[in-house]
């Protein structure tokens, strides 16, 4: 019914357009999705062409490497924007029924959002299930469900604590290893005369805030792609209240700032000594390097994320990405080849690690000495992978996201912002998020458990 009308509308429109455009129609009409010009050079013009959307700047080199190695498949790469920008275009293309690429880079947290729209192809029939032991368990559970594999992990975001060793030293405070010590250190730094904040709690952190909740055992969603009309929503839990009250208290006492993340001001505060600690995923250091000349006296070190219960440490993940094949792929098999093989060699990963600051989720890279022992000049030569991130990645258990994750993040930002502005409390904020998500899920036709 819907298709029919869309076609009728399009036919009318196309007829009308024909009247005025006959003279200036674009040259080739067939297969417009594959006619898009590629940002990279195609080495083998006659090979099957697979379109790819990906946003890392180093992707061009990686694509070139792939194209040089394959004479039957060639990747045509476009940067369609990072994160939300790309997702917006992908959503529109899914709604329109055309315009999506064959392979798309996504964060694994967004996968359920697109699987429920039938936007992604199951890669298991193309042999992706066999790849399971090439990736850490948590990362694999984020991209697979039952026997289905919806994406191939690329890079991850195991979370650690980056801190300014020079600031801690100057004020005579020990870097914390638990959250209790962290709160104490915040006060000690202030008492010792440090006029910055120990760290920042960003209300628009999205995945960052999720990671902090998750560390206390928070599991807000119960969702199985095989039962797509059922969802469990449990945002407002004792664990979440405990974590959020902790931060609310530090913010109220003026020890932690609540600036928006992902702005130039925030970036500068990260590097100029306004924050003494940057709780960051493994890609965080690459983020800082671009501005490292803002404070020449800075001495950065990485340490494991502080724990709630040091006897039972819990590791979390923030961000990272995976490659998925879209439901509009012209040749799903060739597309699956690209998704599975683009990042499966060391040469590629050396580019990814050295040029893009990525943290691989590919075991062969995670085990390779050039990666584990790599010394990072930004951290004064510290082997941060060995010291912090490898353990964090190995122990990350996976996380279930909702099939409307962008909405959930937006609502979280609104509620947390109300809290830091003093209009509500941690408990109110979580209750508000819970209510709005349940209402939204019901409007979408879910049975909410």
């Amino acid at each position: 019914m819907r298709r029919g009308l869309r076609r009728a509308v399009a036919a009318t429109a196309a007829g009308l357009a024909g009247l005025s455009l006959a003279a200036c129609a674009p040259g080739d009409d067939a297969g417009s999705a594959n006619n898009t010009s590629c940002t990279n050079e195609i080495a083998e013009p006659d090979a099957t062409r697979v379109t790819l959307w990906a946003w890392y700047p180093a992707v061009e080199q990686i694509v070139d490497t792939f194209n040089a190695q394959h004479d039957d498949v060639q990747i045509c790469w476009t940067n369609a924007g990072q994160g939300a920008d790309e997702y917006g275009k992908f959503s529109t293309a899914l709604e329109a029924g055309t315009g999506a690429p064959d392979v798309i880079q996504l964060e694994s947290e967004i996968l359920p959002t697109y699987t429920i729209l039938d936007g992604l192809a199951d890669l298991a029939p193309y042999g992706a299930a066999d790849l399971e032991d090439q990736f850490p368990a948590g990362a694999w559970s984020d991209v697979s469900s039952g026997g289905s594999v919806f994406a191939v992990p690329v890079d991850g975001g195991p979370v650690g604590m980056l801190y300014r060793a020079d600031i801690f030293e100057k004020y005579g405070v020990e870097p914390p290893t638990t959250w209790d010590e962290f709160a104490q250190a915040a006060q000690d730094l202030r008492d010792a005369g440090y006029d910055g904040y120990i760290t920042n709690y960003a209300t628009n952190g999205g995945a960052f805030n999720y990671a902090l909740f998750a560390q206390a055992g928070w599991a807000p969603f119960a969702y199985d792609p095989a039962q797509r009309d059922q969802i469990g929503i449990d945002v407002d839990t004792p664990e979440a209240r405990h974590v959020l009250s902790y931060w609310e208290d530090l913010i109220d006492r003026g020890l932690v700032s609540s600036d928006d993340a992902f702005t130039s001001d925030y970036n500068t505060s990260l590097v100029d000594g306004t924050y003494a600690v940057y709780i960051a995923a493994a890609w965080g250091p690459g983020y800082l390097e671009g501005l490292s000349d803002a404070d020449s006296g800075a001495e950065w070190k990485a340490a494991p994320l502080p724990q709630w219960d040091p006897a039972n440490p819990v590791q979390v993940n923030q961000g990272g990405s995976a490659l998925a094949v879209t439901s509009q792929a012209a040749d799903p098999e060739a597309a699956a080849t690209v998704a599975m093989e683009l990042f499966d060699d060391e040469e590629t990963w050396k580019i990814g690690v050295e040029d893009a600051g990525l943290f691989p989720l590919w075991n062969l890279a995670l085990d390779a000495p050039w990666f584990t022992d790599r010394r990072y000049p930004f951290f004064g030569g510290q082997q941060v992978n060995r010291d912090v991130f490898l353990d964090a990645a190995a122990q990350y258990p996976g996380f279930t996201f909702s099939p409307f994750q962008v909405y959930a993040y937006d609502r979280q930002t609104m509620a947390l912002y109300d809290m830091v502005e003093g209009d509500s409390t941690a408990a109110d904020a979580l209750a508000t998020i819970q209510d709005s998500l349940v209402r939204y899920a019901e409007q979408q036709g879910f049975t909410v458990r």
């Binding site: 890392y56 529109t92 130039s264 100029d272 501005l291």
Partner: protein, 295 residues
Amino acid sequence: MTTVTTQQSTSRRPRQRRIGSHLFLLLAVVYFVVPLWWLVVGSTKSNSGLFVGSGGALWFNDEFALWDNVKQLFTYQGGIYWTWMRNSFVYAIVGGVGSTVLAVLAGYALAKYRFRGRNLYFSMLLGSVMVPLTALTIPTFVLLSQLGMINTMWAVILPSLLSPIGVYLVRVYAVDAIPDEMLDAGRVDGAGELRLFFRVALPLLRPAFVTVLLLTTVATWNNFFLPLAVLRDPQLLPVTVGINQWQALSNAGAGGEQVWNLITTGALVSILPLVVAFLGLQKYWQGGLSLGSIK
């Protein structure tokens, strides 16, 4: 001027008022110019100089990086910035001229021809001025993809040919600017309708033409959300979308990509053509803008 001097001799009030007026203007100018001044200063700074410079926000740093920034515009991402500039020119000129031509023809017809459905048409047109663009973005996207035009220049140009407000302005202007008697006299002399349009109407419509051209060219030059939705090839983007992407890139900071210096310099270079055009062509458009004064 002479009246002013004679008045001055009799009373001090007009002079005070003139000083007051000039002060008011001066304040207004400062308000409108300071952000631009900031942009000029900002584009002479390096990436980190923007954050931690000796000069503060409104003055130059010791280091003068404008030329380096401009050079970097030519090399960063293969000099894609200049492709964006070219695209913006193409979109603005084709979209602006095209929509103006259509608007003048349509506005003239609505003002000077009586035909069935004319009033309904005009009412629909007026209503359409108020349609929120978001209502159109999705269906337009579907339509363009059915036509195979997504991710082509046509996807930006064709929808920008639509300027209901332009038709509205021409129609309002043409009603009084072109006397019916002149057209009727022409018809009595045996002139065809086309000839009447080109020889009689068009010269009289020149101010409206200029106004609408200005309006539509600026609108297409400023176009943001349509290209954002229908283009994904970076080589096709207009400069507005491109710079905004640089900002998103710098905010997200993937892999240390921070190009604030290119954003300020790129913004400055991108506004120069239109500013120069406005300043250089003022005698043309200022006359044209008196359109609203028709009684």
